[in-house]
């Protein structure tokens, strides 16, 4: 999973989509997940990293993860054309 190349993401969690003009704020957990995306990590790699850092079991994390991803998709922030 990858965020579109032209999406601007600041250290404060401010996300700007220059194609649509929309902007969003994501929290620290969201920023961490987007950081994993930029490192090309898969869900299988992200889940143990998150469940050891935070008090959450893998099934619950995956549920929230997919919610988050579907929101990114809805906001047209995911680079789905260049998905492998």
């Amino acid at each position: 999973m990858r965020i579109k190349k032209n999406i601007a993401l600041s250290d404060t969690g401010f996300v700007f989509n220059p194609t649509t003009g929309d902007s969003y704020t994501i929290n620290q957990v969201g920023q961490e997940i987007l950081g994993f995306f930029s490192e090309n990590k898969s869900l299988e790699e992200i889940t143990p990293l998150m469940t050891t850092t935070y008090d959450i079991d893998p099934p619950s994390f995956e549920k929230y993860f997919f919610d988050f991803v579907s929101m990114l998709r809805q906001f047209e922030l995911l680079d789905e054309e260049n998905e492998n």
Binding site: N6, A8, F16, P18, T19, T20, G21
Partner: protein, 347 residues
């Protein structure tokens, strides 16, 4: 050393439905090339731009185009005789016809303009938009001009509600049923005359492009913007520049195909399927043009250069993510100023 020129322009109505005059002046004033004396041409004596500090050097009242094109142009020539004008920038759709028709007359008197041709003006007219879309292979919403109130009843055969009800120059309202169409038809026709245009409503995000064509098919500048805050009149109260290659390509395509001459504003809707529909093509610089200046494309200055026959290199870049936010401000002035303009027709 800067070149000294005098520019006369309209659109000083910096109200909640602003004309482009004040932002055009700001762009020209920021020019490194020109030292400009600005003559404001005002239709109403309470247009804020008349009284704003640092905007106009002199204001003259002019008659509305509805009083007759010749009367308006005669007044401009009368002003020119005592206060010579190098470049005239009309900023309203409704007055463009008068100035386009008199372009040669103005030129002979020494007043330069840089306007679309009458053919270009007519071609992109709201009433001709479906033909325009077909000719240039552009997606436009289905629309139909109506001139009689009894045509409203039959709209259900060709349109699904809601529909947009638009004036030929200004104003647009969303109508959910025939009663609302009728109400808006009456309101618009009383103000702007006929026809009234009924347009298919496209759900999506409204985006706009300010652009400048050199009349030879080249795009001198183009900056896309999305309205972030919209007033109840549908005007942008804040906006942000976008990085959208599809929008820019469409702008270049239109200017290339039409050989557009002068400023223009494209109004588009991006549907949820990411299709771009052209809603309107306005034949002049829009009121939000100062955003383009702030983003690196001083189109008012470039327009003046084009009018004067100077070489203008196309802008190749602008800053994405630049924002504008309008504000209101209570300007205090003296009755004497108002009195002078009201009685003498100049200030």
């Amino acid at each position: 050393m800067k070149t000294k020129i005098t520019v006369a322009l309209t659109g000083l109505n910096n109200t909640d439905n602003p004309g482009p005059g004040v932002p055009v002046i700001r762009g020209i004033r920021e020019s490194d090339f020109f030292e400009t004396r600005i003559i404001g041409l005002a239709y109403e004596n309470l247009e804020p731009g008349i009284y704003m500090d640092g905007m106009v050097d002199k204001t003259y009242q002019v008659p509305y185009p509805s009083e007759g094109s010749d009367i308006l142009v005669s007044r401009i020539l009368e002003i020119h005789k005592k206060d010579p004008i190098d470049v005239l920038i009309p900023n309203f759709d409704a007055e463009l016809y008068a100035f386009m028709r008199s372009e040669n007359l103005l030129e002979e008197a020494g007043i330069k303009t840089f306007l679309p041709t009458l053919e270009q003006f007519e071609e992109r007219h709201k009433t001709n938009l479906p033909d325009f879309g077909e000719k240039y292979d552009l997606t436009v919403p289905f629309s139909k001009p109506i001139t009689r109130i009894d045509e409203i009843e039959k709209l259900k055969d060709e349109f699904d509600y809601p529909v947009m009800v638009k004036g030929k120059f200004y104003d647009a309202y969303l109508a959910y049923n025939k009663e609302q169409v009728r109400m808006n038809y009456n309101k618009i026709s009383a103000k702007w005359g006929l026809p009234v245009i009924i347009q298919e409503f496209i759900k999506g995000t409204e985006v706009n492009v300010v652009a400048l064509g050199d009349g030879k098919g080249n795009t001198i500048g183009a900056v896309p913007m999305r309205k972030q805050y919209i007033t109840d009149k549908g005007k942008a109260w804040s906006g942000i520049t976008l990085d959208d290659p599809k929008l820019l390509e469409m702008t270049h395509q239109i200017i290339r195909a039409m050989k557009w001459r002068g400023g223009m504003e494209l109004e588009l809707v991006k549907s949820h399927k990411n299709e771009l529909y052209i809603i309107e093509i306005n034949p002049r610089i829009p009121a939000w043009v100062y955003l383009a200046v702030g983003a690196g494309q001083n189109m008012p200055e470039a327009l003046v250069k084009l009018a004067l026959g100077l070489e203008v290199k196309p802008f190749d870049d602008y800053q994405v993510g630049k924002m504008f936010i309008r504000y209101s401000y209570d300007l205090i002035t003296d009755l004497k100023e108002f009195e002078k303009l009201s009685t003498l027709g100049e200030l």
